[in-house]
């Protein structure tokens, strides 16, 4: 006898849309796709089941800025968004740059019993870009990747050494690719609109210039390293930088990349409202960039959709555009947003979309694919095609504001399971 039976549910994973099944779950695994006895029966009712999502890029603010978010609220937001696994960024206060800090976060997250936390560790001590952290020990402590996200790695030599060091332990190095000296005080995409609005611009070239440099650093590391280095480019936002990654991939360089829900659905035009809600780094770009990113999702230049969930307090986001912090919270809306905007409205293949939330990010971390098969780990999400408006007031995240507030979306996660255990339930 199983624990849960989900009847008449449509299956979709990175392999494709796989028809209706009666999914029997027990012992933390999928026991059968053809039904059976279970303690609890859930009617599929036109919903579909996918493997649990993995977010490569979330800011949970613990330790140090729990007023913005903490592990409990962040991981609850994650499971509400269908995420069973999440990589937290190390730019906390203090930064996560020691094996002890990684272990402490994992232990605390495990006790919460929500989504599984994989705390990324800093590439450099204090994220200062100067002295490398201990890659091997961080890996043993459970860090899935190294990154100084939130800070840009200005010193190419340090990045090169970091790539070489991480390679020995099979760790990817993720980079926030923005040339800080070209970006200066930019708060929105640089161009005619920034000129009109009188806001300091962050040029798209600041991203492309840094990606170009980082790819050359990767080439160097690849030539020098005995083990294969892995560069992961975070939150790509521009057409040009995407082209650089595409060329590098074609040339066989070990590079992967992600894009965020906001860079896929919003443009710089949102800044006409002067609402700091739309202030994010890298900034929202032009429609042309958005189209290029969607093309990149389709052709494999982009490996994953990662949220860059960046919670802040309401008061901070009510400051002006120069002072308000960068960032948008999005764990709870990422999937329905892209399901609606890409799949429903534009016919983007559902199989590929699901892949970008599951096997795509798993591959970046070197994890095996997760498909809906007998014997597979029952980390799953049940998605409902019914329409609902985005209601930030109902967020589990402490950041209860959203650029998508009021948008009518479909594909909301109504049940999330981690190894067969229900961690989120919103069945009607």
């Amino acid at each position: 006898m199983g624990d849960i039976l989900i009847k008449n549910v449509m299956l979709v994973d990175a392999l494709g849309e796989r028809g209706l099944a009666d999914v029997l779950i027990g012992e933390g695994r999928i026991l059968s796709l053809e039904g059976g006895e279970a303690q609890r029966v859930i009617e599929g009712k036109g919903r579909f089941l996918a493997p649990g999502f993995l977010d490569l890029h979330a800011h949970l603010r613990e330790p140090g800025q729990e007023v913005k978010e903490d592990l409990a609220t962040g991981l609850r937001a994650a499971v509400r968004g269908g995420y069973t696994d999440l990589v937290s960024m190390p730019n906390t206060n203090p930064p996560v740059d020691t094996p002890e800090a990684v272990r402490a976060l994992r232990k605390k997250a495990q006790a919460l019993g929500l989504a599984r936390l994989h705390p990324a560790a800093a590439l450099t001590q204090g994220q200062e870009g100067k002295t490398l952290t201990e890659a091997g020990l961080l890996k043993e402590a459970g860090a899935p990747l190294l990154t100084d996200d939130g800070h840009t790695n200005e010193d190419a030599g340090v990045l090169a050494a970091g790539l070489l060091g991480a390679a020995a332990f099979g760790l990817p190095v993720a980079v926030h690719a923005e040339d800080a000296s070209l970006r200066r005080g930019g708060v929105m995409n640089d161009g005619p609109l920034a000129d009109l609005l009188g806001l300091p611009g962050n040029p798209p070239e600041a991203e492309a210039a840094r990606v170009a440099r980082d790819l050359e650093v990767l080439r160097y590391a690849l030539r020098r390293a005995q083990a294969r280095p892995h560069l992961h480019v975070q939150h790509l936002s521009t057409k040009r930088a995407l082209e650089l990654v595409r060329e590098a991939k074609r040339a066989g360089l070990p590079v992967t990349a992600e894009a965020t829900p906001h860079h896929l659905t919003l443009t710089e035009e949102a800044l006409r409202s002067f609402d700091p809600l739309f202030k994010v780094a890298p900034p929202l770009r032009t429609g042309e960039d958005v189209e290029a990113l969607i093309e990149g999702l389709l052709d494999g230049t982009l490996d994953a959709i990662a949220t860059d969930h960046a919670p802040h307090t309401q008061a901070e986001k009510e400051m002006d555009l120069l002072r308000a912090p960068f960032g948008i919270p999005s764990l709870e809306v990422a999937f329905p947003l892209l399901y609606t905007e890409l799949y429903r409205k534009r016919g983007f293949p559902l199989k590929r979309l699901v892949e970008l939330f599951t096997d795509g990010p798993r591959k970046v971390l070197g994890l095996p694919p997760l498909h809906l098969e007998v014997g597979a780990e029952a980390s799953l999400v049940l998605l409902d095609p019914k329409e609902h408006p985005v209601d930030p007031k109902a967020f589990a995240s402490k950041a209860r504001f959203s650029p998508w507030a009021g948008w009518i979306l479909e594909g909301w996660p109504v049940l999330t399971l981690v190894e067969g255990r229900i961690v989120h339930e919103a069945l009607e």
């Binding site: 640089d190 000129d195 609005l197 009188g198 120069l322």
Partner: protein, 301 residues
Amino acid sequence: MKHLLDFQGWTRAEVESLLDTARVMAEVLERPVKKVPALQGFTVATVFFEPSTRTRLSFELAARRMSADVVSFAAATSSLQKGESYKDTLLTLEAMGVDAYVIRADAAGVPHQATRWVRGAVINGGDGRRAHPTQALLDAYTLLEALGGLEGKKIAIVGDILHSRVARSNAELLPLLGAEVWGAGPPALLPQSLPGVRLTPRLDEALAEADAVMVLRLQKERMEAGLVNLEDYIAHYQVTEARLKKAKPEAPLLHPGPMNRDVELEGTLADSARSLVNRQVHNGVAVRMAVLYHLLVGRER
């Protein structure tokens, strides 16, 4: 009009009606008793998150000349970082019964944000690099006084266009009144584009046959940020007697103040008969009276 944030979406007729009212107000200011009861019972708040004594005094005087009550709030921007937010400040004033807010801030968009928080009329008293609409209105008023009309007139704006709210507001307003606007400055201080303005790094081109020249202040920070070299700026962009020969004879000079003498403008020119700087300040009160009048009279309270 509900608020005065910038001139996006404004029509020529609206601007002309406002300037007509300013002419009436200017007459009031010529009377022995410079006060009318037009705004009796209204409360105007000057909310300055960035200090500017000149603009604040001009607005307060304008409000008082029309018998409005005036409250003023000034905050150091540093205190904003930690404590009270813009929103809290404005909601406090709202609770005290303020009808119009003149908001000045060092960041673009703060007055736009304010319209989402308060019911009263919001007047942009200068926001970052974005806009300084009452300055542009008083510039237009002063130019109309001096030139008779703006249709087909060539106005050259010289200096740091990129960081200038005055330039942006004039770039919106003057073309609306039929003027041809040119902007000249060093390439690092020019935007990529500004609708309605012909931008050039060549000062002579902008000054050629100009009917009036508006000189902008060069900020020290721009030099420190490595955007311009002072000697180079003075050599190539300072508006001098000699360079002004390219412009129409007697073409008047405007400057939003405060001025760096012998930096952006040759000192002797600043004091010459061509300079309309004091006229601009004088007209500022009448123009701001007109703005308050248009925003408050007939408004639902």
